[in-house]
Symmetry: C2
DNA sequence: TCGTAGTGACTACCAAGGTAACTACTATTG
DNA sequence: CAATAGTAGTTACCTTGGTAGTCACTACGA
């Protein structure tokens, strides 16, 4: 990640970003020096430093009658930004939620572009309460791994099926299943990505790397159930075939540990605190 | 907090904010309807909705060949924003910190405007490791209360002295001391706000409500020690006078000659009342 | 004279806000 | 049946403010 791009995303202008970086590596500079190191025209530098001072990102000190400038350390800068959005969230969410009207019947909504599909998947995982099913390729699963971990910490039953070559960073979760297929070509058509929560909400996506990525997201009950059941069947068959490979007989007994997918959590399954194995 | 202002702070344009709010309270609208509810000129509405769709804040569905629009729910929207800044932080801080050069000797830095003083105080509290001293009026102490709570959770020894009328939301901490004084007028001059951490960093501020607010922030060792010691002495005297009150010892008369340090030639009592725990 | 320090007056460009006028379709009603 | 009003969407153009970028100037000390 280019630092300048990152700072732009924090709302810095290009000059502000360049001045900040220049001040970081050359602390205590006069305006003139900052202009020299940053390549910002001298005619603009005081304006730029002024707006950074107003934002509290740069502070001044006096020495020999000259004004020196000092950059806020990066940790503090980013901590402030995070704190600001968090405070904004705490202020805004209740007001906005009060404004929001309920949709009469859940629409079948189209989501466009890859990052929006990932964001939608994160939403669903982050709001799941009891049961969560995920099926997709490692790239997409990895992108929502932080949220999946949080969900498991919240005691959400989380089932994940990952297609493709076994990834290096594969977490050791109880219900993590791998379809080890060479590459994205093996199974027909484009990649897919399915997230379903609580038999209530689902996202069925086609995370093509290009700009063609599209997904369906809905709280439509039928779709949500189909998505969940599809993944359940997939897992069931995967396990069945594995065990048949090993033994050959009496599948029912061997697959009993999967019954919780359909019948909810049983006492014997309450194996821990979100860190099984 | 006005919702529109809040959304602007999230990087929405005014039209985008108005369209989003209109869509929240009227879900599933055509572009035409959104324009009607939001007051955005029809000529602009598709452009605006388009950029919201591109950002994933609005999604579309089809019904009778018409494109309907649906707003992302506020919790998800704000969760995404928070996650985005957090990811930016994790990416950016290591790179920026690597760029940062150490200042040879800690400067005496001037901080301007009230919010920047508060932000600086938050920085210091958030990075304190062992010992923390805070002295100020309730307004300012309240503004950094969240960070103080975090510091206490990190096992930082936290001492707070609050001037002014006892606030309603006063936390019940072990080292929380109150100087109950009627109003900001009693002690001469403007309000003040002191934060000192680890005998290493200090902020000494003058949080005037207007634009005149100024503070000194520094890692200069001498200043940091003076600030810490000042607050320690203040607490010591406060406690001493409380305990003497309890035991019926009254030195007012014997120390009357010192009262002039604080009150000129008037003789009156110190406000210590022992409302700590 | 050169390097440091700071300022005023420009130009260029673009995103955002704002207006007017247009097409096309549907439903209602006199 | 034609006229009208409302819905749905589009093209063109204009204004404004902020950002980027240039040039030319003053002032000072070594």
């Amino acid at each position: 990640m280019d630092v300048l791009v990152g700072l732009l995303q924090l709302g810095f202008t290009e000059y502000e970003a360049r001045a900040y970086v220049a001040l970081l590596s050359n602390p205590g500079g006069t305006g003139y020096e900052v202009a020299k190191y940053s390549g910002i025209p001298r005619a603009k530098i005081y304006e730029v430093l002024g707006s950074l001072v107003a934002r509290g990102v740069v502070s001044t000190s006096q020495s020999d009658g000259r004004a020196l400038h000092h950059a806020l350390d990066p940790e503090s800068l980013l901590r402030r930004q995070v704190g600001q959005v968090e405070r904004l969230r705490d202020d805004l969410v209740p007001v906005l939620s009060a404004l929001a009207a309920q949709e009469v019947l859940p629409p079948l909504v189209t989501i466009k572009t890859y990052p929006n599909i990932i964001a939608g998947a994160r939403d669903i995982v982050a709001t799941a309460r009891r049961q969560l099913f995920v099926s997709g390729w490692w790239n997409e699963v990895e992108a929502i791994l932080a949220e999946l971990t949080m969900a498991r910490k919240r005691k959400v039953d989380t089932y994940v099926v990952v297609y493709g070559e076994a990834p290096p960073a594969r977490p050791r979760w109880r219900h993590w299943y791998s379809h080890e297929i060479d590459n994205r070509r093996r199974i027909s058509g484009p990649p897919w990505f399915i997230v379903a929560a609580d038999h209530a909400e689902a996202l069925i996506g086609e995370p093509t790397p290009g700009s063609r990525a599209v997904a369906l997201r809905t709280r439509n009950r039928g779709v949500a159930i189909v998505a969940s059941e599809y993944i359940k069947h997939d897992i069931f068959l995967l396990e069945a075939s594995r065990i048949m490979d090993e033994k050959g007989i009496n599948l029912n007994h061997d697959l009993a540990h999967l019954q919780s997918m359909w019948f909810g959590r049983r006492d014997s399954d309450l194996g821990g605190d979100g860190s099984d194995e």
